[in-house]
Amino acid sequence: MNVLLIQGSPRGRRANTASILAFLAAELAAGGARSETYAVSARGPGPEDLDRLPAQLAAADAVVLAAPVYLDTVPAATQRLFESLSAHGPGPALPLYGIAHSGYFEPVHKLCELRTMRLFCEAVSWSWRGGVGFGGTSPIEGRPLAELGSLTRRLRAGLHAVAADIAAGRPLSEKTVALCSRPPLPLPTRPVVWLTNRQGRTERREVDAFARPYDRRP
């Protein structure tokens, strides 16, 4: 089985999405599936990409699209990829799996992004095989997931389940979706907010962090 992993983050190799897909690629390989990665450029696909991408899609048995959440949905670069593929013809019908992730723990932050992925599938007559949302991915900072230890334990467990579903050629199971929806740490929102705010205290003191440069009319 050949899986095309589309990295929908405009941040390239430094992206947390790249770390997530690198781990997923290793999990897929362990399950006997081959994969290759296509990364959207910061402004979305240009003419060169659209020459290359159809061949990658034609060779794929399944596609995984992973993207961070930028203001509630896919980054502009991924939006442009959808629009370009839809306009130029997306090639043969393929099964698509979606992965949305953000720093926020709550699954609700990922819903619009996953819905946009599903609607893209419907528009180009691809087959939507389900999507998962991971929270608390900000601390990854482009590092291999295993380096972060317990902070990514649940993320890795979720990706392991995603890879198993993909390698078996089945849609993401309810169990997989539920596993991926767990917060990275078993904490309610209030202590997470408190801990996160505590981290930036020193830096905020050193600069005018609460400045409002556009507050007054010129």
Partner: protein
């Protein structure tokens, strides 16, 4: 009452121009001072997710492009209108490019809002939000509902003073679209008027 229209409707040919004229005229007749920015023509790069606007240049983006003039207008307006063709339940690419550069409007700390973790807004008074989505012929059936849900999420994320959204399908006559627009404006205008009055008192 100031209203800022960020419009990507120029990418939707005649239907887009008609819809934009209807929005401008309706807002004008209801007493709004209207400014329109065509985001399709704007020189705006993608958000790099660098985080500089949080702590290194607080409230400012380090990219030197048209967002340097768009962001102050977004901060100072009373009503922000996002008008765009709907693509897969979302904004079209040029609009998405612009609105994801709203990061400098976020403060450097987090709060719980509507039971969810969010950035605390950098500015205490935020504009009301109106989403106007132009549906295509032959788009997925759920496009309109998804777009409305997205505007609802934007309103929580941006801590908008009030919000509403409408979707204009290809079969809707212009008069029906205006009726929808008026109804949506009636929802947000009390908050817009309150914001205007607070601003004038300062």
């Amino acid at each position: 009452m100031d209203a800022l229209i960020l419009s990507a409707l120029s990418s939707a040919a005649d239907r887009g121009s008609e819809a934009l004229r209807a929005i401008q005229t309706t807002l004008g007749t209801r007493g709004h001072d209207v400014e329109t920015i065509d985001v399709v023509a704007a020189d705006v790069g993608p958000c790099r997710g660098c985080g500089n606007c949080g702590l290194h240049t607080p409230g400012r983006c380090t990219q030197n492009d048209d967002m340097q003039t768009i962001l102050p207008r977004v901060v100072r307006t009373d009503l922000l209108v996002l008008a765009s063709p709907v693509r897969f339940g979302s904004h079209c690419y040029p609009m998405k490019l612009v609105i994801e550069r709203f990061m400098p409007l976020n403060g450097p700390v987090f709060v719980i809002r509507d039971g969810e973790m969010h950035h605390r807004p950098r500015y205490p008074r935020r504009p009301a939000l109106l989403g106007v989505g132009l549906l295509d012929t032959g788009g997925p059936a759920g496009d309109g509902d998804a777009y409305r849900a997205l505007i609802d999420r934007h309103a929580v994320n941006l801590a908008s003073a009030a919000h509403a959204s409408i979707v204009i399908s290809p079969d809707k006559r212009a008069s029906v679209a205006v009726e929808l627009l008026v109804r949506a404006l009636e929802t947000v205008e009390p908050a817009v008027a309150e914001r205007t009055s607070l601003r004038d008192r300062r």
